[in-house]
Symmetry: C2
Subunit: 428 residues, 2 copies
């Protein structure tokens, strides 16, 4: 007879109910693969009566997540409550202290408290996994932590927020403004109760913070990340970028250099025909760039109950198979604390200017770039209208500092009618 692993599930939203359904429907297949019978023993959620499309009759109902987490008859605790400063944290800590393994989809919790929680889990000798926290059903965390464990990672790059990518894709296909499209996404129920988590780049930032810790063997450092959402992206930039062969994506990017760890979540341009440039709507894609593997792309559904639940189940099976690993791939005490740096790798930039329409202007603007040692790769001047003459520039690779000098020089000419728009260009 097969051994049973008893599971407690806290949080019965779309992911929690999908996970319970999956465990039931695929129980034979799962038992064959992990050698154990996985049994949901007890659950908890905010409200008991709510219709959820699954019956809760077979499970003990527990009023409090912390009580559930530390029940003696639970071997593994699944945390699907969410949030970083509430019951989720208390429950995860209670589970660890009671010697339970933990599977969570909570990116915020780990991005903010991951170092301490990883240390707690190791001290308690339990395993904590979080595949579902990053890019839903795509096996990014496992690939990076395990498959690429021998690699020096050059860059981690991802489109990891479906809502932002939906908004940017719709703006482009409908030619509509950010505000209109935001309202549409809201109507479709795509936004979190705090929409800033999505469109402010925070959710994607949480995910990037976890991946860069694994990739570079560093402490999780969400506070050291530069984050900018998609609010400043105008339909003008989307259309002009497309004109130059690019698409605008909210990217999470992490790189390690001699000056420290660079972590940024912000709208960038990527080549329209690159794998990242082609990703539409709510699809997620992550590029893991190893020194010997070269670029490895992982793509799929980054959110939704089913895909996220599948990632939770994958983690549970891993633990049931007896596979243990440090939370971020190496003991928490060995994760380096490194300086965060804003001076990034040399990149190309997209610059949009609105210039006074008079003779000799273009020459003076070009000189402003040249004097700052920023070399121009492509330049396009569009027909002027009553507002001025729009000019687009794509620079060659340059340091951020040099670019700032050039933009200051442009401002000083007095020929620029609006604050220049500058967007990074990443290879996708």
């Amino acid at each position: 007879m097969r051994e049973t692993m008893n599971i407690g599930v806290a949080g019965l939203g779309t992911v929690g109910t999908s996970a319970i359904k999956l465990l039931e429907e695929n129980s034979e297949l799962i038992a064959a693969r992990c050698g154990k019978h996985l049994h949901v023993k007890a659950v908890c959620a905010r409200t008991r009566g709510k219709p959820r499309g699954i019956s809760l009759e077979g499970f003990d109902w527990v009023e409090d997540a912390t009580l559930l987490a530390s029940r003696p008859d639970i071997d593994l605790f699944v945390e699907l409550i969410g949030g970083h400063d509430n019951t989720a944290k208390a429950a995860v800590e209670a589970a660890i202290n009671a010697g339970k393994h933990v599977v969570t989809a909570n990116k915020a919790l780990l991005a903010i408290h991951g170092n301490a929680i990883a240390k707690m889990a190791e001290d308690a000798g339990v395993t904590l996994r979080f595949e579902a926290a990053v890019a839903g059903g795509i096996p990014v965390v496992k690939s990076l932590t395990e498959s690429l464990a021998g690699e020096r990672i050059r860059r981690v790059l991802g489109v990891m927020n479906g809502t932002c990518n939906f908004i940017l894709t719709r703006m482009e296909s409908n030619g509509s403004s950010y505000e209109e499209t935001f309202a549409e996404a809201d109507k479709l129920g795509y936004l979190e109760s705090d929409p800033d988590l999505d469109v402010g780049g925070i959710d994607a930032g949480h995910k990037l913070a976890l991946l860069s810790s694994i990739a570079f063997g560093t402490q999780v450092d969400f506070a050291g990340m530069d984050i900018e959402g998609i609010k400043r992206i105008s339909i003008t930039d989307i259309e002009l970028a497309r004109d130059m062969g690019y698409r605008v994506k909210l990217l999470g990017v992490a790189r390690m250099s001699d000056s420290g760890l660079e972590q940024r979540t912000e709208p960038c341009l990527v080549p329209a025909n690159s794998p990242l440039g082609r990703v539409e709507n709510a699809t997620n894609i992550v590029l893991l760039e190893g020194e010997t593997t070269g670029p490895v792309y992982l793509m799929g559904a980054g959110a939704g109950g089913g895909p996220t639940a599948a990632a939770v189940i994958g983690d549970i099976i891993d633990i049931a198979r007896g596979r243990t690993i440090s939370t971020f791939g190496q003991p928490a005490s060995t994760l380096k604390k490194v300086a965060s740096t804003r001076s990034s790798a040399e990149l190309a930039w997209y610059i949009r200017l609105l210039l006074v329409d008079q003779p000799g202007v273009l020459a003076r603007i070009a000189a402003a770039f040249g004097d700052a040692n920023v070399s121009i790769n492509r330049l396009r001047q569009y027909g002027h209208d009553e507002n001025g003459a729009p000019v687009l520039i794509v620079t060659h690779h340059t340091q951020r500092e040099q670019l700032n000098h050039s933009l200051n020089a442009v401002r000083k000419t007095g020929l620029s009618l609006r604050e220049p728009v500058a967007i990074r260009i990443e290879d996708g």
Copy 2:
């Protein structure tokens, strides 16, 4: 002080030397991540003196792979010899019998002898991993075996032979014939000493056989696979398919249905703007389609010393971390033996005909399809030349049997001047 895991490497081609270099160059990083010092203790290869770009001085040289595999001072045996009926098999068996873990890149060996070898490894209590055998540096084996272990897999689909994809891509971009492009690939050193392994679809077939065993919990059944290479693909079909919005790819496809396991490796059409349709040259892509995850795409370098070595290192680290798993994801004795079926899912087909150029022909051909209950989605007739009138048909989804009936009916009309070309269309 860290424990040491001693490794023996048999086979010092481009993968073997890359793996040794990686273990040396990244030794600190790897030790931090797996908690052990990984030490290459002994090596063997066909010829000792050959220049390889690495020094062999620090390693014991062993003349015979089987001796190396069973040396008492080796904990883990890395088999990079290749082939399924030679020293590789004997060496892997010797290693298992001597209680060593095994990491191999040998798809042929496991496709032919995988069931028996998996059983041996389990009986001996050792772990055998083979990420490098399928799609080089892309973590396909791990993702399928572990991340998707709780999933019912609907379909496994992949472009897994770089040489074939290079040839097909070049034919399209140069408008050149198969024979010319084959000669070019040969000159570039892209072909195996037995080119049929690549262009005959066998190599891709080996890889698919391993993936479908994991995906469906079935015994590895390479013998039950339908295999067809790319030799019959003409530049005409590549160009006409492109005209209809498709590209020709050598696909490995596996599906399970009530009638059994369908495994095919053959040239198919995929939509040109799908992830599989866009894959160029030697890049590999695998699509794992789970019931709840939906499509998960993994893409990257499918061959080459570096990427393949990185996959070998990933497996070694997994074993060093103490992570064990059944070879194909569940105990070999529980892998089902299922019938292989040729009746596939209902698919759309691309049909190219060369017809007699006279009035009423098209109506009679259309009737031949209609009578066989095959419904036509798109039809294009091209201007006739001295050879006849070329006609392209894309059918709606249909069973293979019905399609055969319709093609027989076409043949019987006497209006078809050449044997019809029929190519499956898969969603990519």
